[in-house]
């Protein structure tokens, strides 16, 4: 089942994107006859498709009658040189929107594709891959959607829908237990409390204070094994999240651990654009 689409966000972002490309007008568009034409979208490499609604919206804002027939949906795997979509619409609208539409597709499919490559490393485990707040400015919501299309899960969207207590909060509160108690007294009753820990002593205090989730920051595998053991000994239900410059090798190393989540900044802070092209059909 596809995740829910952030519709208002799509409309606004496409408006901004068309606006930065079109400005006071597309100089070249009026040089072309404005009859209805067809064009096909081709994927030039294997990828997980993501961004089809942004892609459509680019054309629809210029030609509300444009139609699209897709051979794949967001989340689907595309093969090299697959015809992904056939577009039918006014020539000027298609020429003007082409670049913006592909820019969305190549960026969001990049996020879904790299997420999916990490997900495959975690197959046959119950560990979930999470994204982070390390995103491209302005694309947070769209990238978090892309992560889900790639098979990942979303950490909090921002500072407003989750609590992550760090060093500063702990110092200010005067200790891990007080920081957690303090947070529990102030936050929305539906939010869990996550706390960042770096040493076993901090882990112990956090488990005792019944933190809902521990963020194990940059720990070695050995240290995490100690954490897991300590958790079991205490009969704790606290969830464990491993974090810190994750890459393929590190993730493979974590496969066998009884942790719940691995959070990976790389799926949203880096973009290795997917290659798509648009071909106009003869008529």
């Amino acid at each position: 089942m596809l995740p829910n689409l952030p519709l208002q966000n799509i409309i606004q972002q496409v408006q901004n994107s068309l606006s930065e490309d079109i400005g006071h007008g597309d100089i070249s568009a009026s040089l072309v006859n404005n009859h209805v034409i067809e064009a096909k979208l081709i994927s030039r490499e294997t990828a997980i498709l993501c961004g089809s609604s942004w892609f459509e919206q680019c054309f629809l804002q210029l030609d509300p009658e444009a139609t699209f027939s897709w051979s794949a949906s967001d989340s689907d795997e595309l093969s090299e040189n697959q015809q992904v979509c056939l577009i039918r619409g006014k020539a000027q609208a298609i020429l003007t929107a082409e670049r913006s539409a592909i820019n969305f597709l190549q960026t969001l499919s990049a996020v879904a594709t790299v997420t999916n490559s990490f997900i495959k490393l975690l197959s046959n485990t119950s560990i979930k891959l999470l994204d982070t707040r390390k995103t491209i400015p302005g694309l947070r919501v769209a990238q978090k959607y892309a992560v889900k299309c790639g098979g990942g899960y979303n950490h909090r969207h921002g500072l407003y829908d989750g609590v992550l207590l760090k060093e500063n909060h702990i110092i200010a509160a005067g200790g891990i237990d007080k920081a957690i108690e303090n947070a529990r007294n102030r936050i929305s009753h539906g939010l869990k409390i996550e706390i960042e820990v770096e040493t076993l002593s901090e882990v112990e205090q956090a488990l005792d204070a019944k933190a809902d989730i521990l963020l194990l920051d940059n720990m070695s595998i050995e240290m995490m094994e100690n954490v897991i053991r300590m958790k079991k000994n205490k009969g704790s239900h606290t969830l464990l999240e491993a974090s810190g410059n994750m890459n393929e090798d590190k993730i493979i190393g974590l496969r066998q651990l009884e942790i719940d989540f691995i959070s990976v900044g790389a799926v949203t802070k880096n973009i290795q654009s997917i290659d798509f092209s648009l071909r106009f059909l003869e008529n």
Copy 2:
């Protein structure tokens, strides 16, 4: 000399970015004492700095009294573990803005850094490296600024400030000469006319029609040598731009050719985020 900063754009984009991170409020911020603190920004790898104004703006929108002392300016090369900036401001503002501020810096410095790595390949030539319209949606203006910080030059910003005639325009006009004449009769008198060509016959027609710039799309080095010869024979002043999935190897191969520009989508469509961190100072 630094390029001119797109000020209004900076303010707006920082607002959007803070808004997507803060939403209805930073839950954790009020858990911390709001005294004035200091924090230092560290670069974790060598890079070309870009985005310092976006970075500052993130903090300033939450604490207008925050101050910054920089050891480097946009366009400067940073070394690994360099202290790039010392920030002084209210603790809550710094904690709340931290992620957004670094997201701008790591993204824009990525663009400047990769641009600069290509620029170095063209040293001791007169060939200029150009960006394209293959950008991250919403970041066009900021990325084009970053390309200049990295030593590159900007192709047109969008469809409104440049003319690039492609296959469809040529078909609609009934030939290369008519397309150029048609464009010259319609566009602003201060714009040059660029035309995309793929064969030597098209090159000849375009040179004869006195196109200002030829976009040599995906041509082999041999073919480009033919184009240069043809241009010389005609005594033409038309400028030549090489284009098409440029990478390090291809650019090195083009070094010795008498072309004017190489345009490279990779500098703006891919992002290999630069690693920065913010450290809070004891007091």
Copy 3:
């Protein structure tokens, strides 16, 4: 400690409010000499103060040099005829902003005051009073801040930062256990899962499925006592929230129950405006 202020929200809402009152210009303002004057804000009844930042912002957007000296802060109790604030600023700005400024204060203080009157009914219990999504359109964030000023706690802010499974979700999933499992697989890892239950059989299923929170909708006291007993028998840590047309009598009746929360729509959907007036001082 005061809750964190939604600053961007304040600026925007004051702009909207001034705009709907001033339109193309305050006709009467130019009829008055624009020297600096003083005015004092008086509370005409006992109340919990809330909205001082909105109040200040109304004047500051018209006279950035205006100054304020307060005898009370948000969350404080005001007595009848207390001088709450002394304002000093340009006469035209004060006259033009007066109505908008008081409209914010009288509305938000109403929310804080009624919340606080309910809070007093729960003194010496560990039950927390929660607000709901039954708010005045456009004032959600401000009203939730006012609830906190009155001593209450915030339920989720909207559909994006909390999960509350209702009848439709349960039917769609094919049962309570499947609905909870389904949700746990899709939502952000930091969110708890709350489910609405109306019968003891539903309660049992929800406890077995380890729902984080039960919303006990319109249950009698006897039925809630059964729920609490069932929870204890199962050794469950699930939290319990009572809900449904809460008023003073019902809340008093719930005082002695071992529930965790009572959610009350009345604190935000009804407004019994607090009476404030502004008096201009002779000079």
Copy 4:
């Protein structure tokens, strides 16, 4: 005949309201099958309906194909447990918009209903009930529409479409006559001049200066009878408006006076939310 609907205002306010409820996305919506369903809106108490266009707009912005069949229009009286509207649309859209839609309806119907209860007290008189600028911030236009649905009349919408001279204007001008003359020389030729008076001496000056309307602020019934006598003696056509903390008792006391208007802040500054519920139909 229904008053004219402020259409642009409706679209904007519904956008804001949905935005504050939905944020980056409705987490629960995607857990439900998105087939077309039906739901019925029930009024849980007698009321004057107001806000049906805002209600519809909430659903239409999420499902443009949604349809509505109403058993009543704005201004109509609803009985307890009346089926007011049958909605047909996509399940996810209806679930997501439900709360925002009802929030508008319960708030605006509250204004219309309380207005209407005051109107009934003035039946068989020619006295018109006016609203004031004491409104909920951001809802000015909508509330003034609701007042008309309840049978009331609108005082000025804001500072831009009416003149009301108060103490400060009179002091600045150097007397009532000069203030009125001054205003008449500056304001739009289609606006009447209203002046606030508190003593009989002020009334006399204002009548002599041919003020169009007198605002009788917090006067006793006896004093108003003197004002009316004075007006008759002078053969004046000046209109009279009674004002000041109006409630049921005071309005009943004013019934027999020859005044033209009573202005009542309570109809817009207080909200006693009307109870509506939405029931999903089996299919």
Copy 5:
């Protein structure tokens, strides 16, 4: 005394104007050293100054430290080659804002100047010159301010702050008396009712129905004399406004009539731009 300035309107319009001129950046600005310079504004012809706040705002939005010393205020008469203002600010800001700033000044001073030339024709009469709703799209508020700077008066600002009954309203209501009664029952109590009349019979009906103002549309002087006689005979206080393609000759012809207002579309629908220039001072 200067009319009240529409401040929010100024900020917004200057933003729009700078945005349409600067777009993604002022290409030439960075070519100039950005030290503080001085420039003087010169009027090249006699004129009534209007727009100084818009002018200042253009520079201030780019250089908040810019300062201005004026030799004249809005409403003052300028002589040919007068130094109107000395500006001190950053060179790039002044160069970038120059054109937008002068565009406001030359347009608004044009309105004030032509208004003033008509006003002079009405000296020694009590007839007031009114503007109309025939304005340049987007400049309504600014132009109405300019009319006041030129000595004129404002008719209604728009459809929301005045009532003017025309043929269609009269037909719909079933006659002039019913249209007036109908309007009086619906509109804000502070608005006068104006009705457009073309024949003496219509004038008689409108006077009998006690219209507040008659708009005498395109009537000959003889006919207006009949209207005035009829009004006197009836002892009416209805105000009279002459209208219809007013120009210098027609206005001179109306000087001796006992009418109250002449409304003139030409003062806002035509622009004869005033010539200003900006000179940079040597340093």
Copy 6:
């Protein structure tokens, strides 16, 4: 062929224009029966039509079902008393939008008409008439479209899509040759470089530095003849633009010169509104 329409700009500007006219609501509109009516648009003088899309948009934003049948398109010449368009739509929408719609038409047709009158003076020459940045604030894009409808050409739209080096740039760079070289090294590769010159010595330097275009500022005809001679002697292809308070006489004087462009501020900074009226048809 009609120039390309700036669609997004049209929608936004019509929204602004309707908003400034309608405000919180059209008071009179609800006094009229809202059945479908017809109205015809008449031109009261000969003119070049421009603005039909803005005109339609005004009605469509209030009645999306309104239809239009035009007897002329933008750029066409209208005769006196020609029926230009027949509109069919809801009575209230047509009455409310009428003034805004005609305000656009009368303003933009004024620009097209005066442009066309200048164009006729240049018939049988190859000289193109250019507009300038001397425009009405907020109407830049619309006016530049109108210039094209009148047969003119657009100079740069703003500071972002063209380079015009003036005295300050030359001083800052240290000479004309350095200024041009400096600019060529910094600007987008598709932009030509234009430089303002006032003396023959400056012309010589600019030609030698291979400026793309010379702006001949306020030169006498004799001086321009010298410039043309100098250009020929040097075999230069630099384009020549004459500028400076252009009027009919001056343009006629320039007809026989071998210059490429004449730029005329008067076509956009002055408005001599075209007279249109709307007549409602009986039914």
